[in-house]
C-alpha cells in the first residue's frame, strides 16, 4: 500500500515535470507569434511579432533596424541605472507585517506580487499611458502624480527613479534617439522637446518652494511614458515593459530578502500566469484617465507607509 502511494507519487512527479517541459516548449513556440494586447488607441502599430522569415538563413538587418527592438532591450535591461532594485515596493514591510504567512513564503509572495501588480497598474500606469499619449503635458502629470502619492516612502522611490531616468536619457540615450530625422512619429519629437523642457524646469526650480506651488518633482511613471515615446516604442510595449520591470524589481527584492531562490524567481518571471496577470491589468487600465487612477489595494498603502517603522531595513521602500 505504502509502496503503491510512493510509486504513484513518483509518477505524478514525472508527469508534472514533463508537463512543465511541454509548457516551456509551447511557450517558446508561442513567444515567436506573440500578438499584441487589444488596443483601442488608433495611432499605435503593433510590433510584437517577429517576422516568420526569422528562420530563413539570410540575415535581415532591416527587421531589427525597423523595429523598436533595440530600444526595447535597452529599457528592459536590469543594468539600466535607475536604481530600481533599491526598492522592494512594500514587500519588505509586507513580510514584516505578515509573519504568520512565513510558513508558506511562496504562497504569501504570490499574493503580494499579484496585489503589487494590480496596484501599480491602477495608480501609475494611467500616468505612463498619458505621458506617452500626450508628452507635452508632462509637467501637469508630474504635479498630479505627486499629489496622488499618499506617502513619503513611495514618493521618494518614484522621484529617485524618475530623475535617474532623466539622467540616463540625457547622458546616454539622447544622442542616439533624438536625431530630428530619426523617427517619422512627430510625437517622438514632441516627447524629446518635452523632456528637455521638463529637465530644465526641474534644474532651475530646485530648492524654490512655495506653499501651494511645489515645482516639478520628476516622478517616474509619466517620464517613463515620455521617454519610451521618444525612443520609438509603441504604447503596448511601453506599458508592458513598465509593468514587467516592476515585477522584475519585486522578484529581485524577493530573492534578496530570502523569500525564494533565483531560479524560482526566474520561473515565476517566465510563467504564463504572470504574463496573463500583467496583460489583464494593462487591459483594465488601458483607457483609465489619470483623474480616475486610484489605489485598488488599500492595504498596500499601509504596508508601504509603515516601511519607515521597520527596525531593520535592507530596501528603501
Amino acid at each position: 500500500m505504502f509502496a503503491d502511494t510512493l510509486k504513484s507519487e513518483g509518477l505524478e512527479l514525472e508527469i508534472s515535470q514533463l508537463e512543465a517541459r511541454l509548457h516551456d516548449l509551447r511557450s517558446q513556440l508561442d513567444a515567436t507569434t506573440y500578438p499584441s494586447p487589444p488596443s483601442s488607441h488608433p495611432d499605435t502599430k503593433t510590433q510584437w511579432t517577429i517576422p516568420s522569415d526569422l528562420y530563413n538563413n539570410k540575415f535581415q538587418s532591416e527587421s531589427v533596424r525597423s523595429s523598436s527592438l533595440h530600444a526595447l532591450l535597452l529599457l528592459s535591461d536590469s543594468a539600466l541605472p535607475l536604481g530600481s532594485f533599491a526598492y522592494s515596493s512594500g514587500l519588505e514591510s509586507y513580510l514584516a507585517h505578515n509573519k504568520h504567512l512565513r510558513a508558506n513564503p511562496s504562497v504569501s509572495f504570490h499574493r503580494f506580487l499579484k496585489l503589487s501588480i494590480a496596484s501599480i497598474a491602477s495608480t501609475s500606469l494611467p500616468y505612463v499611458l498619458a505621458g506617452y499619449r500626450h508628452p507635452e503635458t508632462i509637467e501637469t502629470l508630474d504635479n498630479d502624480l505627486d499629489a496622488s502619492t499618499p506617502c513619503i516612502v513611495a514618493q521618494r522611490a518614484s522621484v529617485a527613479q524618475g530623475r535617474a531616468l532623466i539622467g540616463v536619457w540625457e547622458r546616454a540615450f539622447r544622442g542616439s534617439f533624438a536625431a530630428p530625422n530619426r523617427s517619422t512619429d512627430t510625437g517622438a519629437q514632441v516627447a524629446v522637446t518635452s523632456i528637455d523642457e521638463f529637465s530644465d524646469t526641474l534644474k532651475s526650480t530646485l530648492g524654490e518652494v512655495d506653499e501651494y506651488d511645489m515645482g516639478p518633482k520628476g516622478h517616474f511613471a509619466p517620464l517613463w511614458g515620455v521617454v519610451c515615446r521618444a525612443m520609438g516604442l509603441d504604447l503596448q510595449q511601453t506599458a508592458y515593459i513598465y509593468i514587467l520591470n516592476h515585477a522584475k524589481a519585486v522578484l529581485s527584492a524577493a530573492v534578496r530578502a530570502s523569500v525564494m531562490g533565483p531560479y524560482q524567481a526566474q520561473n515565476i518571471l517566465a510563467s504564463q500566469s504572470l504574463q496573463d496577470t500583467m496583460m489583464a491589468r494593462i487591459k483594465r487600465e488601458w483607457n483609465t484617465q489619470v483623474e480616475e487612477a486610484g489605489q485598488v489595494v488599500p492595504a498596500l498603502d499601509l504596508w508601504v507607509g509603515r516601511h519607515e517603522l521597520l527596525y531593520s531595513r535592507i530596501f528603501n521602500s
Binding site: A20, A96, N104, R111, C151, D276, D301, S312
Partner: protein, 393 residues
C-alpha cells in the same frame, strides 16, 4: 438693533431643479456673525443647520485672528439614512473668509443600498418618490455623491462623517472636492479636516466586502482667483471593484493570447499549484485583508497644524516592527491608543503641509474608538469646533 437676515428658503421651492442637490453659503455678517446666507436642498437630501450651541473659549492671545468666528454645525442627511441605486447627491458648500463649519452625518452610517435592476419596481413601491430608473444602465443605477466645498482664506471645515457602509451588491461612487484660496499664505490659509472611511458592509448579516463597486475620491485644489488657475494639491483615491464587469463595451473579447490559453490553460494551473489556493472568490476582500474598515484622514491648514503634528508624532513613536527588547528589566512601553494592535495605520506629511493619515482596522467599532480616542486626546478639534464635531466618533 439690526437683525442679521436668515434667508433660509423653503426646501420645496423649485429653485433647484434636480433632486438630491443642495447648496450652502456661509458668510460672516458684521460685526462677527456667521450666517447661512444660502441653504437649499432637495429630496432625498436634507441639510439641517444645528442651532449654534458651542462657543469657543475666547483665547485672549489670539482672539482677533486665530479664532475669528463661531463654528456653524450642519447635518447632512438622506432619507432612509443612505443612498438607493440611482440616487445622486450633489452638495456644494461655500465658506466665506474667516468662517468655520462643522459637518456631520447623524445617521450612524451612510448605507449604500444594493443595486439590482430587477428590484427597481420594488423600490418604487416602497419609495414612491423616487424616479423610475432606466433599466440596465450601469451608470445611472449607481449611487453617487459629490461634495464640492470652497474654503475661503482663514476659513475652516471640520468634516468627520460616519463611515460608508456598502451593502451586498451595491455600487457607489463619491467625489469630494475641496478648493482652497491659493493666494492665502501662512496663517491666512484655509483649513480642512476630512475623514473618509468605508466598511466591509453589515457584519451582522455576514457581509464581508460583498459589494460590487465602491469608489471614493478626495481632492484638494488651490484656486487662484486672479489668474483663474487651479492646481491639484492632493488626490486620494480608493477604488474597490469586484471586477465582475467588463471594462469596455467595445473591447470585450477575452484576453486570448493566440490560442495559447486554450491548449495550455490546464498547465498554467498545474504550474502554479500554490496560487490555486490563493485565487479568492472575493477580490475586494483579498485586497483589503485583514481589515474590515479602511479610511483616510486629511488635515491641512493652520487650524489643524497641531493635530497634524500630533499624528506625525504618534506615528513616528510607534514601536519599531521586528525590534527586540534587549534590556530585560525595562518595562514594555505603556500600551497607548496609537499602538492598538487591531489598527494598522500610517501618517505622512506630504506636500503643501498636508498630513495624510491612512488606517485599516478589524472593524468599525475598533476604528471609531481608535480615531475618536486620538482626536479627543489631542483635543484641538473639541476646543475649536466643540465636542459635537466628534459626534460620529
Amino acid at each position: 438693533m439690526r437683525q442679521p437676515t436668515m434667508p433660509i428658503r423653503s426646501p420645496f421651492e423649485s429653485s433647484i431643479a434636480k433632486p438630491g442637490q443642495g447648496n450652502v453659503v456661509l458668510s460672516l455678517l458684521p460685526p462677527n456673525n456667521p450666517t447661512l446666507t444660502t441653504l437649499t436642498y432637495k429630496y432625498p437630501l436634507k441639510l439641517v443647520p444645528r442651532a449654534p450651541g458651542f462657543i469657543p473659549e475666547p483665547d485672549p492671545a489670539a482672539l482677533s485672528d486665530k479664532c475669528p468666528s463661531m463654528p456653524v454645525h450642519l447635518y447632512l442627511l438622506t432619507y432612509g439614512g443612505g443612498l438607493l441605486p440611482g440616487d445622486h447627491i450633489e452638495v456644494s458648500i461655500k465658506l466665506d473668509p474667516r468662517t468655520r463649519m462643522v459637518v456631520t452625518t447623524p445617521q450612524g452610517s451612510t448605507k449604500i443600498f444594493k443595486t439590482d435592476s430587477k428590484t427597481d419596481s420594488n423600490f418604487n413601491v416602497i419609495k414612491g418618490h423616487r424616479k423610475k430608473l432606466p433599466a440596465n444602465e450601469s451608470i445611472s443605477d449607481m449611487s453617487q455623491q459629490s461634495l464640492d466645498v470652497k474654503i475661503g482664506r482663514q476659513a475652516a471645515i471640520c468634516y468627520l462623517p460616519d463611515p460608508s457602509v456598502p451593502y451586498k451588491d451595491s455600487r457607489y461612487a463619491q467625489v469630494q472636492k475641496f478648493t482652497v484660496d491659493a493666494s492665502a499664505k501662512g496663517d491666512q490659509r484655509s483649513s480642512l479636516c476630512v475623514l473618509d472611511w468605508v466598511t466591509q458592509g453589515r457584519t451582522s448579516r455576514g457581509e464581508n466586502w460583498n459589494f460590487r463597486f465602491w469608489k471614493g475620491r478626495n481632492e484638494v485644489w488651490a484656486a487662484d482667483e486672479k489668474t483663474g488657475k487651479n492646481r491639484l494639491l492632493l488626490r486620494d483615491s480608493v477604488i474597490l471593484d469586484d471586477e465582475s464587469e467588463a471594462i469596455d463595451a467595445d473591447d470585450d473579447e477575452e484576453l486570448d493570447i493566440g490560442g495559447m490559453s486554450g491548449s495550455n490553460s490546464h498547465l498554467v494551473h498545474a504550474d502554479t499549484p500554490s496560487q490555486a489556493g490563493l485565487v479568492p472568490l472575493n477580490i475586494i476582500q483579498e485586497r483589503t485583508r485583514p481589515h474590515g474598515v479602511v479610511g483616510t484622514l486629511i488635515l491641512s491648514g493652520p487650524v489643524f497644524d497641531s493635530l497634524g503634528a500630533y499624528f506625525m508624532h504618534q506615528f513616528t513613536s510607534q514601536p519599531r516592527i521586528g525590534s527586540r527588547n534587549w534590556s530585560s528589566e525595562s518595562s514594555a512601553p505603556e500600551p497607548s491608543i496609537s499602538t492598538n494592535g487591531d489598527v494598522t495605520w500610517t501618517a505622512a506629511r506630504v506636500r503643501a503641509g498636508f498630513v495624510l493619515v491612512k488606517f485599516g482596522a478589524k472593524d468599525f467599532e475598533t476604528a471609531k474608538v481608535w480615531l475618536g480616542g486620538l482626536l479627543r486626546e489631542e483635543g484641538s478639534i473639541a476646543r475649536e469646533f466643540g465636542e459635537e464635531a466628534l459626534f460620529c466618533l
